[in-house]
């Protein structure tokens, strides 16, 4: 079924239509969320949260062709919200946390992905993900993130600079 029809149906409250629609994007949402929250459980929580929020607000979507853009925007906002919330929680036993964390770590992730996840700040992640994973233009990114075009550019170059630095460092030590 065409995207437009599914969106229209979903806007009328058809949850089955929306599930079909949402499932086409859930892997993208999950991967983007993972880059921010760095673990499987939180990323899954985010997928659920994005599904919840997006279906609730689907009636406010004016142009169906912007559905994916809109979904990505919700994903980024949800991820940032979760990160901010988690910042307020101070772990009682940080060593224990680290132990769990390292056990949970996906071994399949390469160093460069770790670099991407660990070295970049949230806003830098957003720009990099939208630019290279979601193939957005800089102008689109500025619209999705609600920041000026100039800021998008400077954040992008800063992020690329960091990544290059890391690659060089890896290269040096490698």
């Amino acid at each position: 079924m065409k995207l437009e029809r599914l969106v229209k149906k979903a806007q009328k409250g058809d949850d089955k239509a929306y599930l079909m629609l949402f499932q086409q994007y859930e892997t993208d949402i999950y991967r983007m969320a993972y880059v921010y929250v760095k673990n499987k459980e939180d990323a899954l929580d985010l997928v659920q949260e994005v599904a919840y929020q997006s279906f609730k607000k689907i009636s406010t979507l004016k142009k169906t062709e912007y559905f994916k853009t809109w979904l990505m925007k919700i994903t980024i906002n949800c991820a940032l919200n979760l990160i901010n919330k988690n910042k307020k929680v101070i772990p009682l036993n940080s060593n224990f946390e680290v132990l769990i964390g390292s056990e949970d770590e996906d071994i399949a992730l390469t160093v460069s992905l770790h670099e991407l996840i660990d070295t970049l700040k949230e806003d830098e992640k957003s720009v990099i993900l939208l630019k290279y994973y979601d193939d957005r233009t800089l102008k689109e990114i500025s619209e999705i993130l609600d920041i000026p075009l100039g800021t998008v550019k400077s954040v992008l170059y800063r992020a690329l600079g960091k990544l290059c630095q890391n690659l060089k460092e890896v290269g040096n030590y490698g």
């Binding site: 892997t27 949260e49 279906f55 996906d106 991407l116 994973y133 690329l160």
Partner: protein
């Protein structure tokens, strides 16, 4: 960089439960939206109810706009019988009825209207083009009925004019005479076929005295009412 990043990200494994989590989120939204959708329906329902509420009184108002219609059926109906009646007269009459409705109590107005209907139906049946009745040609039984109705309704007319009830300030004989004078006055008008002011000299000699006597008596009662 382009393909590299996608490649890197594709290394993030997708857990099997992702499907269920999407479903869970959507179902949760759906269950909360149930109320929201209902609210939309409720909103429409409210609009329908409000517009209905607005329409019903207007309908009732339109229906009751002319109280006079209750008595004469319609202006056209009255016009068939009393040619000289104008819409203006009719509306004036209606205005009087409206006033009566306001001045008299609900129950009182009902009584008034019932009695008035005896009167108005007689006008339709026996009235001339001005709506005046020549009572001398009426069957005795009918005349008596109208006389009773008039003597009962006159106090209402007095009240509407803001005058004390003629029935109360006059003795019963005087009152009877007063009603008779009213009837005589109208009879002569009907015989002459005029409405409004009457020139005494145009009245035939045999009726003249009767008319003057009636007129005098009406004036006498009127003065008594005002003086009271």
């Amino acid at each position: 960089m382009d393909n590299h990043l996608k490649q890197e990200l594709s290394k993030i494994e997708i857990p099997v439960e992702i499907h269920d989590r999407s479903k869970l989120g959507i179902n949760k939204a759906k269950s909360e939206m149930g109320g929201k959708l209902n609210r939309f329906v409720k909103k429409r329902l409210a609009i329908a109810v409000i517009s209905a509420c607005l329409m019903i009184p207007t309908g009732a108002f339109a229906y009751q706009a002319l109280l006079a219609d209750d008595l004469y059926g319609s202006f056209d109906n009255l016009k068939k019988h009393a040619i000289n009646v104008t819409m203006e007269n009719y509306l004036l009459f209606n205005a009087k009825l409206d006033q009566a409705k306001g001045d008299l109590g609900k129950e009182e107005f009902k009584q008034f209207k019932n009695k008035l209907s005896v009167f108005t139906s007689a006008k339709i049946e026996y009235g001339d083009k001005n709506g005046n009745i020549d009572y001398s040609h009426l069957p005795a039984e009918q005349l008596e009925k109208i006389k009773v109705a008039l003597s009962e309704i006159q106090p209402f007319f007095d009240k509407l004019k803001g005058l004390p009830s003629s029935k109360e300030i006059l003795t019963s004989e005087e009152y009877e005479q007063y009603i008779q004078a009213l009837l005589d006055n109208e009879t002569i008008r009907a015989q002459l076929g005029v409405s409004g002011a009457l020139d005494v000299t145009s009245i035939p000699a045999e009726s003249q005295e009767k008319f003057i006597k009636a007129q005098e008596y009406l004036n006498y009662v009127n003065e008594k009412q005002i003086g009271n």
